[in-house]
């Protein structure tokens, strides 16, 4: 897998607090972060900020499966943000799918993390999502392409935080696999997530003026 894995541009939208344009393999998404701003009274919470993640398909309409992806992103983002610091506000994260060639969930999650980093909203930790596919021969392919996903027996997306100890935030799995395979996948994805965190660091260094 020596091909380009991640490509990113931060702050490419002018009217938002934070934005990221990320391509992972052949999948591309753009993320914008708006807020914290004052929401409608019904959405207001007196002790914390509400986080609202919207996932948009390029054709406009979203399915039940997309709603589920939205929920996964929402819970991951909400955990990462220091919501107590912004009471009575809302933070809106919009994820726009631009091109889908597999690994959409991990691309969206990585892009949303970069968008949040770019926005300067306080965060507990960063997160990185890595997808892997398990083939029939129990081989683990990191960041598989579309055909590899379709021919695999199991497909996992694991999200890790950048803490000292290994900290799994979210795990979304489909298909059937043994426990040992799961642990192996976790090892591999964790190793790959370290690379993603290094990448985050480089991007921030490059985009900030103090480099």
């Amino acid at each position: 897998m020596s091909e380009e894995f991640l490509k990113c541009q931060l702050g490419f939208l002018g009217n938002t607090e934070g934005s990221a344009y990320l391509s992972q393999g052949k999948s591309t998404v753009s993320v914008s972060v708006v807020g914290p701003f004052e929401p409608k009274a019904s959405k207001c919470m007196y002790d914390r900020a509400t986080v609202d993640v919207t996932f948009r398909r390029k054709t406009g309409s979203i399915t039940v499966h997309d709603k589920m992806l939205e929920g996964i992103m929402q819970s991951t983002c909400e955990k990462a943000l220091v919501v107590e610091q912004y009471p009575r506000t809302t933070i809106v994260v919009t994820v726009q799918e631009m091109q889908d060639r597999g690994n959409l969930l991990s691309t969206c999650l990585n892009a949303s993390c970069m968008g949040l980093m770019n926005s300067g909203i306080a965060m507990h930790h960063l997160y990185a999502a890595v997808s892997c596919a398990v083939t029939e021969k129990e081989e683990i392919i990191l960041n598989p392409d579309e055909t590899q996903i379709n021919s695999s027996v199991a497909y996992l997306t694991l999200v890790f935080a950048n803490t000292e100890t290994r900290c799994l935030l979210t795990s979304h799995t489909t298909g059937e696999f043994s426990q040992k395979t799961y642990m192996d996948c976790m090892d591999k994805c964790y190793a790959a997530s370290k690379e993603v965190f290094n990448f985050y660091q480089k991007v921030i260094k490059k985009s900030s003026i103090f480099n």
Binding site: M1, K26, Q99, A161, L169, Q179
Partner: protein, 400 residues
Amino acid sequence: MNGNPLSDCEKTFILEAASQKIRLDGRKKDEYRPLKIAYGLDWGNCLVTLGCTRVFAQVSCEIYQPNNSRPNEGVLQISAELAGDNKINDLTKINQVLERFYKDSKCIDLEALCIIAEEKVWKIKVDLSVLNMDGNTLGCCSIATLAALMHFRYPDVVSTGEKVVVYSSSERDPIPLSLHHHPVIASFAIFEKYDFIILDPSLLEDKVCDNKLSICFNNHSEMCGVDIEGCASLSQNLLMNCSNQAASVAIKLVDKIKSAIQIDIKNRSSKSFKGLEPAVSEDNGLKLCLSDKIHFVGPSNQENIKEEIDEKMVVDQDDVIKITEGTAFTASHNNLHQISKKGDKNDDLIVIDPESSESSSSDESIEIINHYKLDDIRPVIGKYVVSDDENSDTGTIILD
């Protein structure tokens, strides 16, 4: 943010500049901002960047029952929505103008989209996502619409009497839409007091100007529509001048789109074509290449622990925990705490299994805590912790 009201200072500054016939960004009055059109992997998928205004378009098609009044014509639908911007701005106006200009100018051969009259026609849907608004949103939307429509291909269809066969792209090459002409909108902002007319207004100019004039022209210099917004009264001369200018602009824009499509089709044949992706340059953007060998940074004695646990599983299987092969394990963000324990307590196994907790409390070597909630942050005691969560229907096993 777009929702912010315009300050008086800004307003007077721009008006002052307009009185001296200068634009804030130093452009000439008939100069467009740099236009970039990038096509994606799918047909009819493009990202148009005009200055900082970004519009993303996707054309899709579906088989649809035609309207009763036009039984042998396909349907064209254009909808623009805001994405990524805050929701204060309203795009209904842009939607209306686009629909009017593109539908009523009959640029698409809708009759060619008919499969069976009165029963099945193609419905072509253009979805525009306005990612960023920085002036001239309408103009950028129209470029995106046209660029996407010109690029789009719909699957080949053969109707044999009663059956309709839709061929996938691998079976037969999809067909491009037949366009009679290529209309595109040029927007002007008019400062009436200073007799200053500018093309492609930026966001601030857009907000300050007296009048907004949008003229739609096609590549044959034929007018397809005019939209005037604002309160200034326009003279006939001014309108004629503007439309002449718009006609020449439209030709340039259509040429630009055509060359972008040609470049795209050339690129498409190469295998490394990746469609839309962020531009990586010296100033911004970065890419990461994963190497084949990723060094593992997991716990060093990972292998040993795993074997040990496997043995225990076999011993305990009959009376303690029933673990079948291929059980799916899901860890949600709620048990963050338990997982992070892994580093310091290597020989702990936490089992949260809703089914097998009751029967297993007889074993002395294992301490069992029943009803161990997922969000409980009790420290782990003993070798096994079997716990039960009523709310979760997925069992979770975390090993180290």
